[in-house]
Amino acid sequence: MKWLRTILKWCLGIFLCAWVGQYLLALVIPNLVMEILYQRGGVETDYNALFVNPRPDETMRKVVRPSPDLLYASCIFNLEQGPVVIESPVPERYWSMQFYQMNTDNFAGITNQRDQVYRIGTVVEVTLIGPDRNPGDYSGEVIQSPTQRGIMLLRASGIGDDTSARAALEKSSCRPA
């Protein structure tokens, strides 16, 4: 009977650890996936630089579920050395600039939709600063990232005539301030 008690004890131990483990695993996954994306992105292009992606097709396997109807440009940022300035002309059709931290949280975003339609035809210039900086020290549109590293994603509608959307992304930039 002693061996049965030992096995039961082990099973209970495994189950309890696994119960807690599932949440730890779920906590780690977003950071792990973003870290892979961050490292891969660094091979493809420099950090703090804009990369205009080709239109997604079946060969695009960098990010899951890419939209074939969107044009994408990304900037993998690292603010340890200082802020980054992102500029982008805003086309007439759907456009957005989204900021993600390393746990996948979408911590800030700018669009040309809803109450931001006034941005159409303008050039958005954002100073992205790290968590250790004081926003008051910077002028213009300032966004503070909760983490030093992350990803900025530009999306523009690629349906119909995509000439202006493509031009907007190609004229966009991401560079150290």
């Binding site: 483990g21 599932q22 579920r65």
Partner: protein, 199 residues
């Protein structure tokens, strides 16, 4: 012997953690998601309010998603409880929706676009051919169809990695969705998908 025992303990714990996580995600998504017919959406996608299980799910199946005010995503992987299959033909019927624009995309079980000769992965409100009244139909099948044909086929990833019961799924994206989608995502107008037959 003792080291081996602890190694087995760690390994079994890890395996069971993965199984429990998958189960919790499945059950939890039910609570975190909203069903509208066969379509399912999450009200917290991309948000900082998303729970750890939802964040893990998004990281694996929809990384860098937008918030729902920017775009809403409705996913469909089964029709009347039956998983989408490559040997079946489906009919998607719809109209226009209260959004700046919309698109319907087919993804393989591996979450990537499905390889096909036409390089056609989606239809949107501009490239779809409509009937006189403005409504439209899409045929979803592996074999060639007339009209709006959305081709499906084998996913690009090796089949030994397949863990899903469906062969492919659909993602409806509504960009800058109207109030009906934001306030009542469970009843807002969506396309209907019906099974026409299987080979």
């Amino acid at each position: 012997m003792k080291v081996l025992r602890w190694l087995a303990f760690a390994l079994l714990t890890l395996v069971l953690s993965v199984i429990l996580m998958v189960r919790t995600i499945g059950a939890g998504l039910g609570a975190m998601s909203v069903e509208n017919g066969d379509w399912v959406t999450s009200t917290n996608t991309g948000s900082t309010d998303a729970g750890i299980m939802l964040k893990a799910t998004i990281a694996l199946g929809g990384l860098l998603a937008s918030t729902r005010e920017d775009s809403m995503y409705y996913r469909l992987s089964s029709v009347d409880g039956e998983p989408l299959r490559l040997n079946c033909r489906y009919l998607i019927e719809g109209d226009d929706y209260d959004a700046n624009w919309w698109s319907i995309t087919a993804y393989g079980w591996d979450n990537y676009l499905i390889p096909n000769k036409l390089k056609r992965y989606s239809f949107n409100n501009e490239n779809i051919v409509r009937k006189e009244d403005g409504s439209w139909q899409i045929y979803l099948a592996a074999g060639e169809q007339h009209g709006n044909w959305l081709p499906v086929g084998s996913s690009g990833a090796p089949t030994w990695r397949k863990l899903t019961d469906y062969d492919f799924d659909l993602l409806l994206r509504l960009y800058t969705p109207g109030r009906a989608y934001l306030d009542e995502p469970q009843s807002a107008a969506l396309p209907t998908v019906t099974l026409e037959g299987c080979a």
